[in-house]
Symmetry: C2
Subunit: 153 residues, 2 copies
Amino acid sequence: MGAPAKTSPTPAKRPAGAGLLAAELRVAVMRTSRRLRAEAASRDISPGQYSVLAGILNGPLTVGELAEREQIQAPSMTRIVNGLETAGYVTRGDNPQDRRQVLVHVTEAGTAVLQRARSRRTQWLAKRVAALTPEERATLHEAARILQEMSAT
Amino acid sequence: MGAPAKTSPTPAKRPAGAGLLAAELRVAVMRTSRRLRAEAASRDISPGQYSVLAGILNGPLTVGELAEREQIQAPSMTRIVNGLETAGYVTRGDNPQDRRQVLVHVTEAGTAVLQRARSRRTQWLAKRVAALTPEERATLHEAARILQEMSAT
DNA sequence: TATTGTTATACTCTATAACTATA
DNA sequence: TATAGTTATAGAGTATAACAATA
């Protein structure tokens, strides 16, 4: 069986076995992602573009590094960067130390659009998060950290 | 701004404001969903097909009901049902009380493939879930419930 | 010869609009 | 006239394979 869950915030629920938990988590994540995509669609920038801009805010990264971070293949990242470059949100620069690489830099317009998008993008989610109890928010905060770590594996 | 977050269960981390939490949650969910899709791809059935089969295990539903449950439009559900019907996993039946409606029934093959898929589909996730602490599993269990409720809104 | 990035191409999933049949 | 479902078409995002430039 699962763990005793001694200090669970919801005493009525026991932790399910790994298989059952994975199944319910998978449904929850897939459904939420579909909802997020639908709600955020056609405003500002795409989810992929958003992540890329956020990733290079603190300094340029190569196309390969970005692809690895986003867990997608290089050609897909090339397309995302193309879109951002056309929109004027990033520029491509050479790396003098390895001229095969392409460093993606964020522009001022890119920084601005990211900040605007940050508030709009999460509007749907933020509205629902705000309706939660502090305990539920803490749970989601911790869950986000766990999911990030699991996905990074 | 967000709530003061007075009784956080994770002392080192305070619950972020609704906007920040929504932002980090969004990234975590989108990244995990991309990972899930990639890991589960081309085995058994698609995520959408999986959810549909699971939904009609306890009795047939109409195409419209399924579309609403999955938060997608009717034509998208028609395509998913087409795929399942071609594969022999569901059958379409009339509703005698309203002949505009189409009731989607699961077949024996559909039930079997769902049970097989259930264990395979969540394999990637279950492996990582099993490596977590009981407390982390409890957190994800609760988070799944919260995400489900938020997505249902 | 190996690696980085791009181009070419195709597949999956989604959506909106137009259509058919039933109510 | 309104509703349930399908068909037609298009768009977004992803992938693999082949190619160019550089190491």
